[in-house]
């Protein structure tokens, strides 16, 4: 008797939960929907007094005006930064994570503590001093054929991204799952360190590398603050900076701004949806405390 009563109530609760979740899902999808539909709307649609839920007279005019600016260049810069940061992070972090997880060496605990403490610090605070550091690292500018500094080059964004210890931490978590016996067997068989890493360790931590790759790619693509501080000239802007400046200049030209936002959002959302399984794994493993 009691049982049927409680299950009846829980059915009601279940329906309530689903209704709320669906409403929330709509609310969370809506901004992306509004960006994409907005990018195809005419100025008349945007200014209409009644909300235009769908562009009835779709136009490409916003995109034409967007590509009159160096938007392709911005997109290209973003891709270069994200891909380079991804490769360098995966390479350095998988090597370091393996050493931290599987090697016993002097200073291991100290180093690990240092990495964890660094991660707890506000990432953006060190960007201001990084600006000074980058402005003092000499760098040869091939475009102008003269010496300049690393500030305002794509490297100024890539290098600090690789330095952030989250990747090392994540790869350490994945490397812990490698059975130590296998490594010992390889050593007994006379396999060198590099061979052991390449033929035994790397294949075993591949899912972790995949997770780190997609995680780094998405986060670098969207790391607005670092880009804002480091990239000052229009030809080195990323797509995020491009839209931000568009908004600053043409505050009420929402069609144009939404076209820029679409250009920034659609590629990264597509990549996320393709690789979301790895992504989830990366987030989850990064949280397990070691």
């Amino acid at each position: 008797m009691d049982h049927t009563l409680s299950s009846g109530r829980s059915t009601g609760y279940k329906v309530f939960v689903i209704v709320i979740l669906v409403l929330l899902a709509i609310f969370f999808i809506f901004p992306l929907y509004w960006i994409i539909t907005g990018s195809f709307k005419t100025a008349a649609d945007i200014n209409a007094q009644v909300p235009q839920w769908f562009p009835l007279e779709p136009t490409l005019d916003n995109y034409t005006r967007l590509f009159a600016r160096p938007a392709v260049r911005w997109l290209l810069n973003t891709v270069v930064i994200a891909v380079a940061a991804m490769f360098l992070t995966c390479l350095t972090a998988s090597l370091a994570g393996y050493a931290l997880a599987k090697k016993r060496f002097y200073g291991r605990k100290l180093l690990f503590t240092l990495l964890v403490c660094a991660m707890a610090l506000p990432k953006q605070v060190i960007v201001i001093p990084l600006l000074q550091e980058m402005s003092n690292i000499p760098f040869y500018d091939f475009n102008y054929g003269e010496w300049a500094t690393m500030h305002d080059t794509l490297l100024a964004v890539i290098l600090p991204t690789v330095g952030w210890p989250f990747g090392v931490f994540l790869m350490k978590q994945f490397s812990e799952t490698i059975p130590t016996e296998i490594l010992e067997a390889a050593r007994v068989d006379g396999a060198g360190e590099i061979r052991t890493f390449a033929t035994i360790v790397f294949p075993m931590i591949k899912p972790g590398v995949g997770a780190l790759a997609i995680f780094t790619f998405v986060n670098t693509w969207n790391d607005y603050f670092l880009q804002l501080i480091m990239l000052t000239s229009e030809e080195s802007w990323t797509i995020s900076l491009g839209i931000a400046r568009l908004q600053g200049e043409m505050a009420s030209d929402f069609g144009l701004i939404m076209a820029g936002a679409s250009l920034a959002a659609i590629p990264i959302v597509a990549i996320f949806l393709l690789f979301q399984k790895y992504f989830t794994q990366g987030i989850t493993m990064g949280a397990v405390k070691g």
Binding site: L95, K103, I126, L130, A244, A261, Q276
Partner: protein, 311 residues
């Protein structure tokens, strides 16, 4: 270095000593090879994390800016100035308001969503997880500019559907900060939900079944069994959400530039403003040091609270 520390502290997972069963030569060889593996990563970490941290602390004691000729040692001058800087205090207050509202809201809400979608079919679970992660992936700038349009007094959707005329949501001291908290909320809950779904999957099922056999209600099962077991996740969610909320910047810069009347200026935005507009890097870095200390204090507090709560 001369002796292998055979009596090292007992490590976790039943490992008796870090170096047990290893000869001294082996330990040395392992140490060398370990540092070679670590080297590429350490170059980046030291060069672009530790060095800027050091610069931050050192510069916080320097006086530099467009109005000062050259760089001079200022002692604690920057810190003293901060104590009397009204904008600093207002920005700190706004930041704390954002953190105090957003962190509990994000944590509670993501726990609720996590528990609601966890028992669902795998496909639905992954669908909802994706949907709530969408604003994070879309990117702060893209999300922010669309919200700026939605809040626009003349062409924005909000006034059109609420029939509120030309109410200026972002230009009003009372509403602006709440608009920012709302957007921050939508871009913050994606990761905690993923974490909670994973954590709930790791809860010991035999304990839940045993409790159900004993006639425990759903609420009792949640508070007595699941809650203590997902506590580490809750702690992690609290800490990362606190760190992220304290650093709220892009939303402010793109939506309100700290206005109206500084009512939405956050510490991170003020640091940026001081460094960029006035080139006062010494003062900006001093505030950076204070922000880092505040965040560290909040994190320590949360760890302590979680520990006592678990006992």
């Amino acid at each position: 270095m001369a002796q292998a520390p055979a009596a090292a502290k007992p490590a976790k997972k039943g490992r008796r000593s870090e170096f047990s069963g290893m000869s001294r030569a082996l330990v040395r060889r392992e140490t060398i090879s370990a540092y070679l593996f670590l080297l590429p990563s350490l170059i980046f970490f030291v060069g672009f994390v530790l060095v800027p941290m050091g610069i931050c602390v050192v510069y916080s004691f320097l006086d530099m800016g467009i109005n000062t000729s050259g760089t001079t040692f200022a002692g604690f001058q920057n810190y003293i100035e901060m104590a009397g800087d009204k904008v600093f205090w207002q920005s700190l207050r706004n930041t704390v308001v954002i953190v105090v509202v957003a962190v509990p809201a994000v944590t509670a809400f993501s726990l609720w969503v996590g528990s609601a979608i966890y028992p669902m079919h795998a496909a639905w679970r992954s669908f909802f997880r994706c949907v709530f992660y969408l604003p994070v992936v879309t990117g702060t700038v893209a999300v922010t500019v669309v919200w700026k349009w939605i809040f626009n007094p003349f062409t924005g959707l909000l006034n059109k559907i609420l029939h509120t005329g030309t109410l200026d949501w972002l230009g009003n001291e009372k509403t602006a900060i709440w608009c920012i908290i709302l957007i921050l909320f939508t871009t913050s809950i994606g990761q905690p939900i993923v974490l909670y779904v994973a954590a709930l999957g790791n809860v010991d099922k035999s304990l839940i079944e045993a409790a159900q056999v004993d006639g425990a209600t759903k609420l009792q099962v949640f508070w007595k069994i699941k809650w203590p077991q997902i506590m580490p996740t809750t702690l992690y969610v609290l800490v990362i959400t606190t760190i992220n909320s304290f650093q709220c910047f892009a939303l402010i810069q793109l939506l309100t530039s700290g206005g109206p009347n500084g009512s939405t200026s956050t510490l991170m935005y003020y640091i940026f403003d001081v460094a960029y507009k006035y080139q006062r890097f010494g003062y900006a870095n001093a505030m950076g040091v204070i922000l880092a200390l505040i965040i560290a204090a909040f994190s320590a507090l949360q760890f302590k609270a979680a520990k006592t709560g678990n006992e």
